[in-house]
Amino acid sequence: MIELRQVWKVFLNGRREVVALRGVSLSVRRGETVAVVGPSGSGKSTLLNLIGGLDRPSRGRILLEGRNLAELDDDELALVRREKIGFVFQFFHLLPTLTCVENVALPLHLRGWSRRSAEARARELLALVGLGERLDHLPEELSGGERQRVAIARALAANPPVLLADEPTGNLDTRTGAEILTLLADLHTRLGTTMLIVTHDAQVARACARVVTLRDGQIVGDSSIQGP
C-alpha cells in the first residue's frame, strides 16, 4: 500500500542544511494502523507530509499503491491527495466560515460532486462520528473534541484508502482524546482504512497495531503490538 525506499528530506535554513529524514525505508500494508512516535524534531510530521503528498522527498521513492509520489507534479499530487488521502491535523484546520456539513462536504465538492449529494454524504459521516445534531453549527460553536470529529469526518468524506493523522489528540484533554481514539479505532474496524498516526501520546501508540519510532530522522524502532 505505502512503501518508502531510502527517503531523505533536507531543508535549507538560511545557508544551513537541516536533514529531517535520513534514508527512511518503511512499508505499510493495506488496512494497517501505524503509530509514528519520536521526540520533537525527529521527522515525524515531515514523514507524514511526504506520504500525504504535501511535500516531496529530497531523495528516495515514496510509492502509494505503486505510484511514485516523488515523480508527480504539483497538480498530480493534489489529485492523489484528493483521491487517496484523508488528513486529520492537531489544530483541526477547519474552515471557520463554513458549517460542519459544509466543511465535511468540501473535499467532495472539490471532486465535483453536486452540492446536494455532497451534503447528504456529509450528514451521514457527521452522524457516524456522533455529530448528527450539530450539522449547521460553525466550528467556533463546537468543543475541541467535536471539532476534531468534524475534521475526521471530513478526512473520510471521499472514502480515501489512507488516513493520515498528525497528533489528532494533541490539542485535546485526556477524556476527549480517548474518545477520538475510540472513534478512529471504530472507523478503522468499519471502513478498513489504512491509518498512519503521528503522536507523542503513548495511549494513542498503544491503540495502533504497529509502532514506528523515529529519532534524528531515522527509524530506530518498528514493532507490532498484539491486540488484546
Binding site: 545557508r15 504535501l54 489529485l79 484528493r82 483521491e83 491535523f89 463554513l98 459544509e102 472539490l110
Partner: protein, 849 residues
C-alpha cells in the same frame, strides 16, 4: 458553490477593504467613462454644429482661421463643376445678455445662400429672404433661432446687443427660425446675418472664412475637389464639411491625450487597489488555501477562486463606475467646453454628455478585465502556496538567502537591460520596455533594500526608544516578505507622485521662462477680451496710433491664427521679427539666435516651436511648405525655440511676408513697450482714451496676461493635481491595508511579547515605530524610484505626448511635503492596529490561529 461561500464569508469579514477595492475599480471606470463621454460630447457637439450649418454643402474651401480675400469667391463660382458657392464667416460673439454666453453668428450672403441652406421661418417672415435688400439696406439685421428668441423673450423687431470691433452695437431681430436643420447648430444659440455686415462687425476687411460649395448633378466629390484645387492652387483646403471634425480633433489632440492618460491612470489606480487587496487577502487566507490544497484542491481551483472574486468585485465596481462616470461626464463636458474656449479660443456649446451604451458597456468591460488582470499575480501566488508552509504560522514571511540572491540577480539583469535599451534602443517599444524593466528591477530589489535600510535605521530607532525601536526593526527584518510588500506598494505610489509632480513642475518652470523671455511687453492691446481668442482683428494703422500715445516707446504688431499644415491646424504668428529679436531673449534649442532672427526678419526663413519640429521630426534647415492664398510658401527652418502658444506647434514669420502671401494687413495683438519711467496704468488709460473710441479694444497689463496664462496652466494641470492627490491616497491606503494585515498576522507574536512582560504602551509604541520605519523606507525608495520615473515621464512627454523637451527638475518641495504626509499617514494607519494588538488578553493572542 461552497468556494463561493468562502469568498462571501471573507468579504463579509472585511467589508471596508472590499468597499475600498470596489470603489477603486468604480473610480477607474468612472473616470474612464466620464472622460470618453465628455470628449465624445464635445466632438459631437462640434459635428452637430458643422452639420447643422453645412446644409447641402458638399465641399468647403478654406485657408484656416485667416480666411482669404473676396475675389476667391468669383473664381469658385466660375467653375462649371460648381452649382452654387456661398461665402461664410462664422464667429462666436458675446451677446451681453445675462446667462446666454456666446452666440454663434453665421454670416451668409442672403442673396444666394438659399441654394445651400434651408431657412424655415415662423409664419409671415419669409419675405425677408425673398427681399435680401432688407439685409443690405439694414446691416444691423439679424435672424435668431426660436429657441434663443424664447429664452430671451425676443420677437421680430426686438433689439439685442453684440460685441463688435467697433464696440457694443445693437442689432434688430428681423426673423425667427423654426427648430430643425440650421437652428439646431451650437445648441440653438445661433444667429444669421449678412456676411458683409459681419465682416464689418469683426473688423476683418473684405475677407471670407470659407466658401460652401454645392456641385452640379453628376459631378463627384473627387471631380469637384480636383477642379477647385486646380483653380485655386495649393493655398486652400478643399474638404467635405465632415473633415472639420478632424481638424477639431487635431486641435484637441493633446487635450484628448491628457484625458486618456488621466483615464489610464485612474484604471491603473483601480488595478493597484485590486492588486493590493488581493495580495493582502492571499496573505490572510494562506491557512484556508493550505487546507484546500491539503484536501486536494489543485492550483487552478485556487487560482479560479481568486480570479472569480476579482471578476465579481470588478463587475460590481465597473457597473457602479459606469453609472457614476455618466453623471461625472455631465460636469466634465462643460469643464472641457470651457477649457476649449479659454485655452484654444474654440467656443463650443456643450450641453451635457448623452449616455452611449457601447461606451458604458465597454468601460464596464475594461473594469472587469482590469480587475482580473490585477488579481492575476496574487491569484498565481495563492495557487503556488505550499500547503505545508501555509499550515505553519509565520513561515511564509521568511525569504531564503537563495531567494535574495535570485532577486538581486534578476534586478541586476533588468536594470542592465533597461540601461542598454535606453542607450541603444531607438524605437518607442524599446524605450517603454526599458521603463518596465526598471520598475521590475526596483520591485525585485525591494526586499534587499528594505532590509538594508531597516538595519540602517536601527541605531536611530534604538536611540529614540531602546527597547521598542529594536523590536520594531527586528520585526521588519524577520518578515521581509511582509515588509517589502508594504514598502513596494508605497514606493510605486510615491514614484508615480514624483513623476506627475516633476513633469508638472518642469512644464511650469519652462512656462515661466517662456513668459519671462517672450511675453515681456508692458502692455498688450487687443480687440479680444482673452489673449487666446482671435475672433476680432484691428487694422495695422492702430499700431501707429498707439505708438503716438505718450509713454509708449515701441509697439510690435502681431497677427496670429491657426492655419492648416499637412491637414493639422498649427499656429501661424506673423510679427515684426526684427523688433522682436531686440526684445525677446529666448534661447533656441536649435539654431543660432542672431542668424535665425535675421533670416526670418528678411522673410527668408521661419522660426518654429519645439513641439512643431518634434511632432513632425523636423530639424533646422528642413523646409516647411505652408499653404497660403497666394500659393505654397516654402520656408526653411532657421531656428527651433520653446513656445507654448499652441500644442500642435507654432511658426513665426515676418509680418511683411505674411502681408504678401495672405494679403491681409490686420493684427490681433499689439505688443507695447513703455518708455522708461512711464506708468503702465496711465498709458493704458491713455491708449483707451485716444485709440479706443468707437472700437472694441482691451489693454491688458503684462501681469494680467501672465495671470491668464498661469490660470490656464493651472486648469490644464488640474487633472495632474488630482492624479497626484489620488496617488497619495493610494499610497496611504496601501500602508493602512498592509499594516493591518501585518498586525493581524502577528497577534500571536505580540501576545508573546505581553506574556513575557512587555507593557501595553511598549507594544503600542513598537507598532508605531514599525509603521514609521516602513513609511520612511517606502519614502526613501519611492523618492529614489520617483527620480528615475521622472526621467522616463519627461522623455515620454518629449517623445510621444507634446514634443517638449523639458529640463529635469526634481520636485524637491513636493518631496519635502510628502515626508510629513506619508509618515503621518503611516502613524495614523498604525493607531488602530496597535490599539487592537493590546486590547485582548495575552492568552487569547497566544491561542490565535
Amino acid at each position: 458553490m461552497l468556494l463561493a461561500r468562502l469568498s462571501w464569508a471573507y468579504l463579509k469579514k472585511h467589508r471596508l477593504r472590499w468597499a475600498l477595492t470596489i470603489a477603486g475599480v468604480a473610480l477607474g471606470v468612472a473616470v474612464l467613462v466620464a472622460m470618453r463621454l465628455a470628449n465624445q460630447a464635445v466632438l459631437s457637439s462640434f459635428q452637430r454644429t458643422v452639420q447643422g450649418i453645412a446644409g447641402r454643402t458638399q465641399l468647403q474651401v478654406h485657408a484656416g482661421d485667416l480666411g482669404f480675400p473676396e475675389e476667391v469667391l468669383e473664381r469658385v463660382q466660375a467653375l462649371p463643376e460648381v452649382a452654387a458657392a456661398a461665402p461664410v464667416i462664422e464667429a462666436a460673439l458675446d451677446t451681453g445678455l445675462p446667462g446666454q454666453g456666446y452666440l454663434l453668428v453665421v454670416g451668409v450672403d442672403m442673396t444666394g445662400d438659399r441654394s445651400i441652406r434651408d431657412y424655415e421661418f415662423d409664419s409671415g417672415e419669409e419675405a425677408i429672404l425673398d427681399d435680401p435688400l432688407v439685409f443690405l439696406a439694414q446691416p444691423d439685421s439679424i435672424i435668431v433661432t426660436r429657441e434663443f428668441a424664447e429664452r430671451n423673450g425676443l420677437g421680430v423687431g426686438s433689439r439685442i446687443p453684440l460685441g463688435t470691433a467697433q464696440g457694443t452695437r445693437w442689432f434688430t431681430v428681423r426673423g425667427i427660425m423654426r427648430p430643425g436643420g440650421l437652428s439646431q447648430a451650437f445648441g440653438g444659440n445661433l444667429a444669421v446675418m449678412d456676411v458683409y455686415a459681419l465682416q464689418y462687425v469683426l473688423g476683418r476687411g473684405r475677407r471670407f472664412d470659407r466658401i460652401d460649395v454645392a456641385l452640379r448633378e453628376g459631378i463627384s466629390l473627387e471631380q469637384g475637389e480636383r477642379a477647385l484645387r486646380q483653380a485655386l492652387g495649393p493655398g486652400f483646403e478643399i474638404e467635405p464639411p465632415s473633415a472639420r471634425g478632424r481638424h477639431f480633433e487635431a486641435i484637441l489632440r493633446s487635450f484628448s491625450l491628457t484625458l486618456n492618460i488621466t483615464s489610464l491612470f485612474a484604471v491603473l489606480v483601480g488595478m493597484f487597489l485590486i492588486y493590493n487587496s488581493f495580495s493582502v487577502a492571499v496573505t490572510q487566507r494562506r491557512a484556508e488555501i493550505g487546507i484546500l490544497r491539503a484536501l486536494g484542491a489543485d492550483r487552478s481551483t485556487i487560482r479560479r477562486l481568486f480570479l472569480s472574486e476579482a471578476a465579481v468585485a470588478g463587475l460590481v465596481g465597473a457597473l457602479a463606475g459606469a453609472a457614476a462616470g455618466w453623471l461625472m461626464a455631465q460636469w466634465v463636458a462643460s469643464y472641457v467646453g470651457r477649457l476649449m474656449q479659454e485655452a484654444y479660443g474654440v467656443v463650443q456649446n456643450v450641453e451635457g454628455a448623452p449616455a452611449d451604451w457601447r461606451l458604458l458597456v465597454g468601460g464596464a468591460g475594461v473594469g472587469v478585465l482590469a480587475s482580473v488582470v490585477a488579481a492575476w499575480i496574487p491569484a498565481r501566488a495563492a495557487a503556488r502556496v505550499d500547503p505545508v508552509l501555509a499550515l505553519q504560522k509565520g513561515r511564509h514571511q521568511v525569504l531564503s538567502a537563495g531567494e535574495y540572491r535570485v532577486r538581486r540577480w534578476l534586478a541586476g539583469v533588468a536594470a542592465g537591460g533597461a540601461a542598454l535599451l535606453l542607450t541603444a534602443g531607438r524605437s518607442p517599444a524599446w524605450f517603454y520596455a526599458g521603463y518596465v524593466l526598471i520598475v521590475l528591477a526596483a520591485l525585485w530589489l525591494t526586499p534587499a533594500l528594505a532590509r538594508g535600510l531597516a538595519r540602517g535605521l536601527r541605531p536611530l530607532l534604538a536611540w529614540l526608544r531602546p527597547v521598542e525601536g529594536g523590536l520594531a526593526v527586528d520585526s521588519l527584518l524577520q518578515a521581509p516578505r511582509r515588509t517589502s510588500a508594504t514598502v513596494a506598494a508605497l514606493m510605486l505610489s510615491l514614484a508615480m507622485v514624483v513623476g506627475f509632480g516633476g513633469v508638472a513642475r518642469s512644464i511650469y518652470d519652462s512656462l515661466v521662462e517662456w513668459v519671462e523671455t517672450t511675453l515681456n511687453p508692458d502692455l498688450f492691446v487687443t480687440p479680444n477680451a482673452e489673449i487666446a481668442n482671435r475672433t476680432y482683428v484691428v487694422p495695422a494703422e492702430l499700431g501707429a496710433e498707439v505708438e503716438r500715445v505718450p509713454g509708449v516707446r515701441q509697439v510690435q504688431l502681431v497677427r496670429s491664427a491657426r492655419v492648416p499644415y499637412q491637414g493639422v491646424p498649427v499656429l501661424l504668428v506673423a510679427a515684426d521679427v526684427a523688433k522682436l529679436a531686440r526684445t525677446v531673449r529666448r534661447r533656441p534649442i536649435e539654431g543660432d539666435p542672431e542668424d535665425m532672427h535675421r533670416r526670418t526678419a528678411a522673410g527668408e526663413a521661419t522660426i518654429v516651436s519645439e513641439s512643431f519640429a518634434r511632432l513632425r521630426g523636423l530639424r533646422v534647415g528642413d523646409v516647411v511648405e505652408l499653404p497660403a492664398p497666394k500659393g505654397l510658401l516654402r520656408l526653411p527652418i532657421a531656428g527651433i525655440v520653446r513656445d507654448y502658444s499652441d500644442q500642435q506647434g507654432t511658426l513665426l514669420i515676418d509680418r511683411a511676408l505674411y502681408r504678401t502671401w495672405w494679403d491681409d494687413d490686420t493684427v490681433n495683438v499689439i505688443r507695447v513697450y513703455l518708455a522708461p519711467g512711464a506708468s503702465a496704468a496711465e498709458v493704458k488709460r491713455a491708449i483707451l482714451e485716444q485709440c479706443g473710441r468707437g472700437r472694441r479694444l482691451f489693454v491688458l497689463a503684462n501681469e494680467e496676461v501672465r495671470r491668464y496664462i498661469f490660470r490656464l496652466a493651472d486648469q490644464w494641470f488640474g487633472m495632474t493635481y488630482n492624479q497626484i492627490a489620488v496617488a497619495i491616497l493610494v499610497a496611504v491606503l496601501g500602508v493602512v491595508n498592509t499594516l493591518t494585515v501585518s498586525i493581524t498576522d502577528r497577534r500571536r507574536e505580540l501576545g508573546l511579547l505581553l506574556a513575557v512582560g512587555g507593557l501595553r504602551p511598549q507594544v503600542r509604541r513598537t507598532i508605531w515605530m514599525e509603521a514609521l520605519a516602513i513609511g520612511l523606507i517606502g519614502l526613501l525608495l519611492g523618492l529614489a524610484l520617483g527620480a528615475v520615473n521622472l526621467y522616463y515621464s519627461l522623455e515620454m512627454t518629449r517623445r510621444d505626448l507634446a514634443g517638449l523637451s523639458l529640463d529635469y527638475v526634481f520636485p524637491a518641495s513636493l518631496a519635502a511635503w510628502l515626508i510629513p504626509v506619508i509618515l503621518g499617514a503611516a502613524f495614523l494607519a498604525a493607531l488602530g492596529p496597535a490599539a487592537a494588538a493590546v486590547r485582548g488578553s495575552p492568552a487569547e493572542a497566544l491561542e490565535y490561529e
